[in-house]
């Protein structure tokens, strides 16, 4: 199986501190509204057994990236290691990809007139380092590596997560571990969105 790099987000260990998001923003200095990585919060269950869980998401570096398919100017490319790269200098700002990506990953920046997204810190990866967000995670909830390796070594590495659109469309490389106390991933549970907007 070819390498497919991607993120693994452990919802048990994520405390919603958003250091991942801050580290990304601080290095790439995108406008504050452009969030290449975004920590979403959800609730499951009822008091006193309720759970608030956090899901740190960026580009899922899909195996079958819809953004790339839809781009009229080939601003997207997929590397051999599976990372999906967007070239803003090729982008014409048509925003087609913001519609085709089920995960809302590409974001349009009206100031620059183009779209941008997480590139998996591929330059760091090429130097054998981890993406900025992963390096910044104080709980090690967020990790990075080969999708197959995640499936082999993690406590849990499933393709479904609360509020995460159907993974069968684009085959995202992101894998998840669910909170230990919560419902199992295969059980459909009502989710209360989102504490994130408060």
């Amino acid at each position: 199986m070819p390498t497919q790099l991607g993120f693994h987000a452990d919802m048990e260990k994520c405390i919603g501190c958003k250091a991942c998001e801050a580290a990304c923003k601080d290095f790439y200095r995108m406008p504050p509204e452009i969030r290449w990585r975004k920590v979403r919060s959800f609730e499951m269950g009822e008091w006193p057994k309720a759970l608030r869980v956090h899901l740190s998401l960026a580009c899922n570096h899909c195996e079958d990236p819809a953004c790339m398919k839809g781009c009229p100017v080939q601003a997207y490319s997929k590397r051999e290691d599976g990372l999906v790269i967007h070239d803003p200098t090729a982008c014409i700002g048509c925003q087609y990809c913001t519609w085709t990506c089920p995960y809302g990953v590409p974001q349009f920046d009206p100031n620059e007139g183009v779209v941008s997204k997480c590139n998996g810190c591929y330059q760091l990866v090429d130097q054998g380092e981890l993406p900025r967000c992963v390096q910044a995670c104080p709980t090690t909830a967020l990790t990075f590596g080969d999708r197959a390796e995640h499936e082999r070594t993690k406590r849990e590495a499933v393709t479904v997560a609360p509020g995460f659109p159907d993974p069968t469309i684009t085959h995202p490389a992101t894998r998840f571990a669910w909170p230990k106390k919560g419902p199992k991933p295969e059980v459909k549970v009502p989710i209360t969105p989102p504490a994130e907007e408060h």
């Binding site: 405390i15 801050a22 008091w47 910044a136």
Partner: protein, 733 residues
């Protein structure tokens, strides 16, 4: 900046050009001249300056990235033992708070009701002239000072000298009263000195952690990171006592969601389980603790069933928690404001110390009774005599201590005040007309003290209010007569001390904006104008630190072995640092002897005090207050950070869905919250993490000040406000 705009303009232009081309070429590939660089906006600093983080009491090591005389980045110090390079989100982005546009650049004086620009001489003359006039007319006790846990140790020491040996007033306090006072009294009364027992390394060493009244995920995220990693690597157990399902509570092996204000009963019952099960160390108790018979007798009625009834959690869970804690070879308690900010603050601190002392584990690696601090240098204030004690942790009411300090300072013993006054008494004395002048340094009492309407009444009554702060927009400035623009921590030199007694250096990375001066300089100028120049003969923070060090010789917080250089070399040193222990002391009380007269730790037989206010028919909700991780205190710094404001832009109130349904409140609705003292508006967040008939409001927002609602009630021993429990009613706005 020009480069940035050029690039943006270029991208915009090229986007338009490309769009045209794309239409013409019908989707053909377009080659552009500009090379693609994902790092195009990245700002690489010219240099990194070693320092300490300016937010919470975790005390992370940071490096401040400087470029062209501006702070442009912050990163964690990789080899700093506290955080090993990690930082929380606001820690990473705090350079924006330093560079904020509302930094004070000149002093301001109130003229005809308006604050107008003034020179330093004008402002300081106005301040010191009025102070002298008030002292002459009404005596030194008509003057009060109120400072912070966020100045540097040298500044606390200098201020301490000015207010005590200079002005000679009994009315000095700091906002550590709102934060650590209950822990301080707990330490003093149990151990005989204000010495935190543990070290952060205990988080990794221990087998079970009892987290009480601490939302570590929001308030100390980097410690929570250490805890989470320890749990994964070692299977460390976690017991959480909190009325809300916080992140630590979600993860916990046992979560005891007790009724607010019942911690002491729970902890007493846990201690009683340990006694019943023989999980205590009688030899240690006999050798190292006093008052055991009284405690033992008092605890007999604390059966799990009794506590279950009071605390509202099952008796079996209390027993399970106590056994998990007591049977572990090493066990660690950590707590913060859920314990301290209560009428039961000191009693709960005692109950926690009792629980750890009777097991005989305290002082061993992985076993500590550990109160974590909220501010980066609360410990510096406590060590240097910035508010309620004399330097070297000499209690203010101790004659021998005052005589030692009088000798060290070369001032008459009679001059030194023998008492200090909690801020709430200062506020009441202002309202009563006894205090005419208040000098506020680096804190925002208008927003942070309870019962805001009462505080407003007091501030409006002052003949002189001096506000010394980094931001001229600080809310308290609304009432100021004189505003003095202060440098921020990143612009000055001195030391900070974190929760685990780790002393570390803060270094100037950039120049303060405009005419702003370091608090150290401002204090020296004020002293000179007041005629106390002889007290501040030291010219530099380093010289001041050398003088301060002498006051710690032979004291519990000895720092004679510290120099600024050694702090950088060792990545901070944990006091005491003496000739005998030049590399500091990781854990206190390892030999079972304490600073009390009989060298024993006192087991205080405590019981829960009644809450000042309980929900009733008119005010049926219990209001809890606290922090969110995106913001800090009154938001003067974090609300200057764009990303933090996007994440949590304004005040909200957490309401349980059951109550929301009954009141017809939907997610995002504006609601009015009222208490007997005031009202505020907030956006409704409907959540299952709080119990029905309870609401939670964060404390950071001037547009929705939760302290308009909070009760004017205090721990009877520590004077710490009871922020966590009051009765309110809510309705849709």
């Amino acid at each position: 900046m020009t480069k940035h705009l050029d690039r943006r303009a270029f991208l915009k232009l090229s986007a338009i050009a490309t769009a045209g081309a794309a239409t013409g070429l019908a989707g053909g590939s377009v080659a552009l001249g500009a090379p693609f660089d994902p790092n195009r906006n990245h700002v690489e600093p010219d240099e990194w300056v070693y320092s300490t983080c300016g937010f919470c009491g975790t005390g992370c090591g940071i490096e401040i990235g400087v470029k062209g005389g501006e702070a442009v980045a912050i990163r964690g110090t990789k080899d700093y033992p506290v955080n090993t390079g990690f930082l929380c989100a606001k820690g990473i982005l705090q350079w924006q708070a330093i560079m904020a546009p509302d930094r004070g650049t000149t002093p301001l004086l109130r003229k005809n009701g308006q604050l107008v620009k003034a020179s330093w001489d004008e402002a300081l003359d106005a301040m010191t002239g009025k102070l002298k006039e008030i002292i002459t007319k009404h005596g030194p006790n008509a003057v009060a000072t109120y400072n912070t846990g966020q100045l540097l140790l040298e500044e606390f020491y200098t201020l301490g000298k000015i207010q005590r040996a200079g002005i000679g007033t009994d009315h000095c306090d700091s906002n550590t009263r709102l934060c650590m006072a209950s822990a301080v009294y707990g330490h003093n009364r149990t151990f005989g000195a204000d010495v935190p027992t543990g070290a952060y390394a205990d988080v990794e060493e221990t087998d079970v952690i009892l987290l009480v009244g601490s939302n570590m995920a929001e308030c100390h995220p980097i410690l929570m990171g250490r805890l989470t990693r320890a749990r994964e690597q070692k299977g460390t157990k976690l017991i959480v006592v909190d009325p809300r399902i916080t992140q630590p509570a979600r993860m916990a092996d046992i979560h005891l969601a007790i009724k607010p204000g019942t911690d002491v009963t729970l902890l007493n019952a846990m201690a009683q389980v340990l006694i019943q099960d023989g999980l205590i160390d009688q030899a240690y108790i006999d050798a190292s603790c006093s008052n055991w018979p009284e405690l033992k007798a008092k605890l007999t009625r604390y059966t799990p069933e009794f506590a279950a009834q009071v605390c509202g959690v099952p008796a079996e869970e209390i027993v399970a928690a106590a056994r998990l804690y007591g049977k572990a070879p090493r066990s660690l308690s950590m707590w913060v404001m859920g314990i301290n900010q209560s009428v039961n603050g000191v009693t709960a601190n005692h109950a926690l110390h009792n629980l750890n002392l009777i097991q005989g584990k305290l002082g061993k690696p992985g076993s500590a009774s550990f109160s974590v601090t909220g501010q980066p240098n609360a410990m510096g204030n406590r060590s240097a005599g910035g508010s309620s004690n004399y330097p070297g942790m000499r209690p203010i009411d101790n004659e021998q201590g005052r005589r030692e300090i009088a000798a060290l300072w070369g001032v008459p013993y009679e001059k030194l005040p023998a008492k200090s006054t909690p801020i709430e008494k200062i506020i009441d004395k202002i309202i009563a007309g006894d205090i005419k002048a208040l000098w506020v340094l680096c804190t925002n009492p208008l927003l942070s003290l309870p019962d805001q309407n009462r505080v407003k009444q007091a501030l409006a009554k002052l003949e002189l209010l001096v506000v010394q702060d980094a931001y001229y927009t600080v809310d308290t400035n609304e009432y100021a007569h004189v505003y003095l623009p202060a440098a921020m921590w990143a612009e000055k030199q001195g030391v900070m001390i974190n929760s685990e007694r780790r002393v570390n250096l803060v270094q100037p990375s950039i120049k303060p904006p405009g005419e702003a001066k370091s608090d150290f300089e401002i204090l020296r100028l004020v002293a000179q104008k007041m005629g106390y120049g002889h007290l501040v003969a030291f010219q530099t923070p380093a010289a001041c630190f050398e003088e301060f060090k002498q006051t710690t010789k032979g004291r519990p917080n000895e720092m004679t072995g510290i120099t600024y250089e050694r702090l950088v070399e060792h990545r901070g040193l944990q006091w005491p640092v003496s000739e005998a222990q030049p590399n500091g002391t990781q854990r206190a009380f390892t030999d079972g002897t304490f600073f009390t007269k009989d060298k024993k730790a006192k087991l205080w037989a405590v019981e829960q005090l009644d809450l000042p206010e309980l929900p009733d028919a008119a005010y049926p909700f219990m209001l809890n207050t606290g922090r969110v991780q995106e913001h800090y205190h009154t938001g003067t710094k974090t609300r200057k950070i764009k990303e933090m404001n996007l994440l949590v832009p304004t005040v909200y109130v957490e309401i349980n869905p059951k109550d929301a349904a009954e009141l017809g409140i939907a997610y995002g609705d504006m609601v009015v919250i009222e208490s007997k003292r005031g009202a505020m508006k907030a956006k409704a967040v409907i959540t299952q993490i709080g119990a029905p008939k309870s609401v939670f409001v964060p404390m950071h927002f001037h547009e929705g000040p939760v302290n308009a609602l909070t009760v004017w009630a205090f721990d009877p021993i520590s004077g710490e406000p009871n922020y966590k429990q009051q009765a309110v009613r809510i309705r849709k706005a």
